[in-house]
């Protein structure tokens, strides 16, 4: 064995050491099984119903078992559908809130700097005092108008606060 080959061997061991200790250099959390690839319970119930129907046609499942199992699966499908609808409704609510937030920039109502009247996002003039509508940045108090997307003083997003990531997580 030459020095060259010994060096190659050492190189192999070093490479292996670097690769296998890489995960040890950070605190790895237990992976979550999101279940996203598994389809919904509703789809599963429908597929199971399809299988049951077919097996019954082939006499692999008796009439009695067919009737009972079909009832169970349909109950399950209904429950799954109900859960889906509920989840959908929650999702809609969240989207609504997010859109509202996006349009308003923040959840706090935007008010006229002069008379504190509440302003709508597309108001150019205060409906109470008639002055040009101005808002203040919640971070640096720099004046702006309701149509501004970002604060001209500090760059804080006044609009576009909608957190799509949080919606997508639903």
């Amino acid at each position: 064995m030459t020095i060259g080959t010994a060096l190659i061997g050492i190189g192999m061991l070093v490479l292996a050491g670097i690769v296998v200790t890489q995960p040890l250099r950070h605190k790895a959390a237990l992976p979550e099984d999101s279940g996203s690839s598994r389809g919904s319970d509703y789809d599963a119930a429908l597929l199971a119903l399809r299988d049951l129907e077919f097996d019954h046609q082939l006499d692999v499942v008796s009439d009695e078992d067919y009737a009972r199992t079909k009832g169970q699966l349909m109950t399950q499908a209904a429950q799954a559908l109900e859960q889906q609808v509920e989840a959908r409704s929650q999702l809609d609510d969240l989207i609504e809130t997010a859109v509202r937030t996006n349009r308003g920039g923040t959840n706090q109502p935007v008010t006229c700097q002069h008379c504190q009247e509440q302003l709508a996002p597309d108001d150019n003039f205060c409906p109470q005092c008639g002055r040009i509508a101005e808002i203040a940045c919640p971070v640096c108090k720099q004046a702006g108008t309701p149509g501004d997307n970002f604060c001209t003083g500090c760059g804080t997003a006044l609009h576009g606060a909608l957190n799509f990531a949080s919606v997508a997580e639903l």
């Binding site: 995960p23 237990l30 597929l47 006499d59």
Partner: protein
Amino acid sequence: MLADIGLMALVTGFLLAVYATAVSAWGGWRNEWRWVESARSATLLAVPFLTISVVVVTYSLYTMDFSLAYVADVSSQAMSPFLRLTALWGGQSGSVLFWAWLMNGFVAAVLWRKWERDHDLMPYFITVAMLTTAFFIGIVVFITNPFARLWHVPGTTELLTAVFQPAGAVAYVARDGSGLNPLLRHFGMIGHPPTTYLGFTGFVIPYAFAISALLSGRSRDDEWIRTSRRWTLVAWIFLSIGLILGGRWAYDVLGWGGFWAWDPVENAMLMPWLTGTAFLHSVMMTEKRGMLKVWSVSLIILTYSLSLFGTFITRTGVISSVHSFSKTALGPVFFVFIGLTFVGSLWLLLRRLDTLKSEHELESFLSRESAFVLQNVLFLAITFVVFLGTVFPLLSELVTGTKITVGPPYFQKATGPLFAVLVLLMGLAPLFAWRKQAAGRLGRAALLPLVGSVLWAAVWGYAHRLHPASYFALWLVAFVVLLIIFEFVKGMQARMKRGENPAAALYHLMGRNRRRYGGCIIHLGVVMIGLGFIGDAYFQQETQMALAQGESLTLGEYTLRFDNLESYPGSDGREVLEATTSLFKNGEFVQTLKPRRDFFVVQRQPMTIPAVYPTPAQDVYVLLVAWEEIGFGASTFRMYLNPLISWTWAGGFVLILGTLVAAWPERQHQAKRSYVLKPERVQPGLLGGD
């Protein structure tokens, strides 16, 4: 230098395997995921390192680096390049390295994608699978190293084999190698050993999942069983292909007129195949009814242990076999490992029995569950008979001091009736309903196939004046084939009621019920393979005669005329003696056949190479048995008519096709979910899937 790099890669691979085993156990015990991730990295990284070793050995064989003892042992200048490449698995060191590489590859394949899905099993899975892999790599490193060199001690005629230079020895390079055993110098070397190894090593995955489930307490959950089933199917198909290719090889090379001789190594392959098949069936009960859980886990353990046992027989040469080219001293190591694996697994299984309780009980003898149980019992009974016959020489030597070998008649007589019932059950089981089957419905479903098969067997048997026992065999095959065909027809009719045309009905039937109809195709393939066995057992005809040039011998409707005999030097160190004969069917010339007798000069080993004229009905199989040395005056030929043999090879293809249909990946939610039949007292509940 290249060999040194291969050696270092091998050692690095071994260290990685040991590391993966240790840190995954540590991570699982301490519940620290980063250690498990580190073990995963080590497992994946071991693959390229072992690949380097495999490539280096293969290259050394190809380039004939005779400084390596392994190369000098299994390669030679006379061998063709293709044979030199396949010599990787032609001897012990190379084949154990190849084995370890494949096993590591399987484990890495499980960890490559979506491994987080079974994250609570993974620490245990990596520990079990990589412990086994480390054992095999360890054997390569410490006991049978392919990078060991030849050394010569000056002043002696002694040649040493060692990885590092022994004191006082100098490196020795052989001028030529011994070369592969002549029996291995065949085209079959490409397919048979690798597929067999893939089958054997693949069973480590379901085994590791089963043990992980037992260790982690997840054995109550059925999800791991589904994963195990998929990997079992992968290993099973490779083992099936290995068996079929091995049979074909034996038919082409060994020259006894058949393809299955109940040789110990053939049996060693058959046994895990039988228990693996039993598992693939019992797991359906576990999935659909929550039953036979202990049975299923036991079958996985048994299958894996029998795979190791097969390796033990093949690699140690402890029992005389046509495969005894690999007689070595690995026996004790393997024996201890198999014993520990088997006993340890059974102990664990007993500890976890409470988590594997059956959710339901058998409710009727006439039910699909009963058919599955009976079929499983038959598979195990056949396995036991084969095991007993295989180890009988060892047992007899242990008890009486004399080695007594049981021959094919024992296996044929003991397993024949069991196989017959199994084949019958194979056809009938799909007709049975889950839980309980109304006898009337079963009778109606089986009536037409029964009548059709009886008529066919009676007419065909009468027309050909067959042996009485063959009537039953022919009826059985016809009955099962008709049942399978009716199964397809029934399914298609169900779909055609929805307005689909026959082609669309068949397509959707197969596409949406892959496991069921893939299984039917596999059953069809098994029946076709069975035809070859029936032909061999009942209908084979044989004759032998010494012929002078121009003389003929007749068997059935075929006549063989001896035309000429010539001798010439063959390609890889063999002297070939080849007869030229003409085959006539009912007086009309059909083909020239050239049976041969090859003599390997260095090994001093003869080989009888048959000449075969294959047809769907029967093969004409001709052997050159003897000849007169002087003047080539007369030669003795043995001629067989092997009916239905071609169906065996065709059945092999059908079986592979069926397995591909059954194993073809489905969309995830489709693959995982199905309904579960529960007795009436159980409230409406969850799906069988997750």
